[in-house]
């Protein structure tokens, strides 16, 4: 891998964009890699969390936005909690996903984004998550038709999975959605 730094300063704009979106000082990171050391998803990632930050520091926008890591991050905040430099890595990952969507970069983890979308649409529709519909729609859209299907009877029996949605205050939820979209 080779990286050219010349008088074109637009590359460094990316750092500012991420900082603005996340409200986090990217250059506070001194690359101790404690985030990567504790990340439960690290084994699946193409770049470790600290590497994502490093690439962001150097302005490697394309590489960062195309990475699987930013989609695989579950936002568990283990990294955020443990970071000695108070870098809220989970917030940075959120910001990177937002920038990727805004810039219409095709997510390298298609299913993750699909899940996010369906999750949010059920919330919008019912005021809270409705697992039954969400799993059904996700399995159909993703093409993994029978994914986790055998877990359904047990979940139904224990009441963790409902046949009908439990409606909450749908109107208020819609207002919240509208409010965030206006921002």
């Amino acid at each position: 891998m080779k990286w050219l730094i010349d008088s074109d300063t637009s590359k460094l704009e990316f750092v500012r964009e991420v900082e603005e979106e996340s409200g986090i000082k990217i250059f506070a990171c001194y690359q101790c890699s404690k985030c990567s050391a504790g990340c439960p998803i690290a084994f699946e990632m193409d770049y470790l969390p600290n590497q994502i930050i490093r690439m962001a520091q150097l302005g490697m926008k394309e590489r960062v936005l195309a990475s699987r890591t930013i989609w695989l991050c579950a936002g568990c905040e283990t990294c955020t909690t443990r970071c000695p430099r108070e870098v809220d890595l989970a917030a940075v990952m959120d910001a990177l996903r937002i920038i990727a969507l805004r810039e219409k970069v095709k997510p390298s983890e298609r299913d993750v984004q699909l899940f996010n979308k369906i999750f949010l649409s059920t919330v919008r529709k019912y005021g809270r998550v409705f697992e039954g519909e969400m799993i059904g729609r996700f399995n159909i859209s993703s093409g993994h038709l029978f994914k986790d299907i055998f877990k359904a009877p047990k979940l139904l029996k224990r009441g963790r999975l409902k046949i009908f949605p439990a409606l909450t205050d749908v109107k208020k939820m819609k207002d919240i959605f509208k409010g965030t979209e206006d921002i």
């Binding site: 891998m1 080779k2 990286w3 050219l4 730094i5 010349d6 008088s7 300063t9 460094l12 000082k25 250059f27 506070a28 001194y30 690359q31 600290n50 590497q51 490093r54 690439m55 520091q57 150097l58 490697m60």
Partner: protein, 670 residues
């Protein structure tokens, strides 16, 4: 060596211990498990309990502890011992401790001997416990032979010349000289250059507080010139040093300045009128020019010019003398010769500083080839308000303001293949400072720093470099640079960043090399004159890295500043004050005691061949003109034994290391 007779004399004389019958005590130290973990100390103790002449043999956990020393003292008194062996660590560690313990009991300290069963036995034979025990016994047997023949010796005393010499007037030398002078002792301060202040005069601002170097240094240089107790010799070098602690004889060469210092008013008209221009200025590190007669910089102390005879038109052609014509006080003296001054001092502080690595080691970085590749001290000059660009950051080739500046750390340092495996210690911090100051002056510029590690161990240092990165926007790239090359008026820097696993190429406008801090090229020559040890890199060696950090192995000679190892200003100043306090400790003594273990001469058999005179490193031996035999100057003798080996007929012996003693020590071993 200073020795152990700090107790009042009366106490010593009360107890008679001169008896022909040996009454020896053997004390075996466990040193925790250092010795006892390998050597069977109880067996050793019981072995010696059986030996005739040994009246006491005992082992103890820590002999050097207070109860351990007490054990020795009380046993000497109770059993009326006239010889003591402490089998423990190296005599370098605790010989003095145990000799003092003996002194407390009224035993002559030179009847105490150390058997080294730690460094020379237990530590090196950890896997052979039985053999180690055997060896420990052998070692003690041989020391026993020595103790039997040891004589009672008394330390000799000499006067102290209550004056100090400080060599080098950088910040270290200045601090040491001021400290000593403020305590009331006269100081001779010798500086090789035409003015004082050293490297610090070239610096712009200093880390980690960014206070201006000139603002904190010039009050000190002025104070030196105004302190009556300090006699300042600039443009002078040490020619020769002889003598010893308390009585050093120093010859100082005052190089011909071609200007009579007493007459010169420092008006500067000579410099103004001198027709020989454009000589690269040493003070500006070649980034600016000076005349053939010059004052290094406006705030120079002393404010007296010097003629560079290599460049001066008069010295080349015999004509010119323009400066002389304009000099009203008639201070110019073309006939001036070097002058040798002799001084007598009691103690010496060596503060000769360092030199930054030149262009010889890193061809791939093109220093000296590409104009826009400069070293860090040149960058300091660019930043300095009194520098060649009056503090504006402009690159040397075309005077443009550089928008991308790459700083490369560890140029030479930590590079074993180039023979500089050590860390230069200050580059991390001054590079952080440089990147910061650059940003202060070029707001739209970007600084990149190639580094291997950032070593920020001082007070406020870590916060300082974090500030460079987080607030001043310097981008740190972790890796070495492979090479630099010119392309379309840019310097292309090819390096890498291990943190992102990327090869990096930067099209820079200017590159600054943090070149290694090296010993001054003349350091070794000086070390030989001073008889002080130096390491393989030419840095002077302290007597002990932890416990005697400003002393040398030669008594009365102390170290301060970067001549000992690369170091920053706070550490240098601290070390200089430490050296000064050591000097004061010495000068405040009425008399100095000397180790009585010196060479003695048997007049009867000396043939006056003079081999001992040649062998003596300290000038302590000479041939008596009348008797035609050799003599020993005891105060100069360090007891090294070189003359005793050189002596062909055994006329020269070392006290308590006589030929008979050494032979019987060897005999008992075989």
């Amino acid at each position: 060596m200073l020795v152990v007779d700090q107790l009042p004399k009366t106490e010593l004389q009360e107890i008679p211990f001169k008896t022909k019958i040996p009454r020896i005590g053997v004390f075996i130290c466990h040193c925790g498990i250092n010795i006892a973990g390998v050597v069977d100390v109880e067996k050793v103790a019981s072995e010696f309990a059986k030996i005739p002449g040994v009246v006491h043999s005992i082992d103890y956990k820590y002999m050097c502890s207070n109860p351990g020393q007490e054990l020795i003292t009380t046993t000497i008194k109770e059993k009326k011992l006239n010889g003591v062996i402490v089998a423990a660590c190296s005599p370098r560690m605790h010989e003095t401790t145990f000799r003092n313990a003996a002194l407390k009991a009224g035993l002559n300290p030179y009847r105490v001997e150390i058997a080294n069963i730690r460094e020379q036995c237990s530590w090196v034979h950890q896997n052979e416990k039985e053999k180690a025990t055997e060896k420990a016994i052998q070692i003690i047997y041989s020391i026993l032979e020595k103790v039997r023949e040891d004589q009672t010796l008394e330390a000799s005393h000499s006067d102290v010349e209550k004056k100090a010499l400080v060599i080098g007037a950088g910040i270290a030398g200045i601090q040491a000289a001021l400290d000593i002078a403020q305590a009331g002792y006269p100081v001779i301060l010798v500086e090789k250059e035409s003015c004082i202040g050293g490297h610090m005069t070239k610096l712009a601002e200093t880390f980690p507080t960014l206070d201006c170097a000139a603002c904190i240094l010039t009050p000190r240089t002025v104070e030196v010139s105004q302190t009556p107790k300090i006699k300042l010799y600039t443009y002078s070098e040490i020619e020769e040093i002889s003598g010893l602690v308390g009585d050093f004889r120093v010859k100082i060469r005052r190089k011909a300045r071609s200007v009579i210092e007493e007459r010169c008013t420092g008006c500067g008209i000579c410099q103004e009128k001198c027709p020989k221009k454009n000589i690269p200025s040493e003070h500006e590190e070649g980034m600016g020019t000076r005349k053939a007669i010059y004052i290094s910089f406006p705030q120079a102390v002393p404010n007296i010019p010097v003629i560079d005879r290599e460049s001066c038109i008069f010295y080349k052609t015999g004509k010119c003398k323009v400066c002389q014509k304009f000099c009203e006080p008639e201070a110019i003296d073309f006939e001036q010769q070097d002058e040798i001054i002799e001084e007598k001092v009691g103690a010496i502080v060596v503060a000769t500083g360092f030199k930054q690595l030149g262009k010889d080691l890193y061809g791939e970085y093109g220093y000296g080839k590409y104009k826009d590749v400069i070293n860090s001290i040149q960058f300091e000059r660019l930043q300095s308000a009194s520098g060649p660009t009056l503090g504006e950051i402009r690159r040397p080739s075309d005077g443009k303001i550089p928008k991308i500046v790459v700083f490369i750390q560890c140029v030479g340092s930590r590079d074993r293949s180039k023979g500089i495996p050590y860390c230069s210690s200050i580059c991390c911090m001054y590079t952080a400072k440089h990147s910061m100051l650059y940003k202060h002056k070029v707001h739209d510029g970007q600084a990149y720093v190639f580094y291997i590690d950032v070593r920020a161990a001082g007070k406020g240092y870590e916060e300082f470099w974090a500030r460079a990165v987080e607030e001043e926007g310097a981008i740190y790239l972790r890796g070495r640079v492979s090479r630099l090359f010119e392309k379309d008026g840019k310097i292309v820097v090819r390096g890498s960043d291990t943190l992102s696993g990327t090869q990096i190429e930067i099209e820079a406008d200017m590159v600054v090399l943090a070149s290694a801090i090296c010993a001054h090229p003349s350091a070794i020559e000086l070390a030989k004159k001073l008889r002080i040890p130096y390491d393989q890199y030419g840095f002077f060696t302290e007597a002990h890295p932890k416990l005697r950090p400003v002393e040398t192995t030669t008594m009365g000679l102390f170290l301060a500043g970067a001549c000992q190892a690369p170091k920053d200003i706070p550490t240098t100043v601290a070390q200089a004050s430490a050296a000064a306090s050591k000097v004061l400790g010495l000068l405040s003594q009425e008399k100095l005691s000397h180790d009585p273990i010196t060479a003695v001469i048997d007049d009867e058999i000396c043939s006056g061949c003079g081999l001992c005179v040649e062998a003596c490193f300290y000038g302590a031996r000479e041939i008596d003109g009348i008797k035609q035999i050799s003599t020993v100057k005891e105060v100069l003798c360090e007891g090294c034994g070189a003359c005793t080996v050189a002596c062909p007929n055994g006329a020269t012996q070392l006290k308590n290391f006589t030929k008979e003693q050494i032979l019987s020590m060897v005999d008992v071993m075989l």
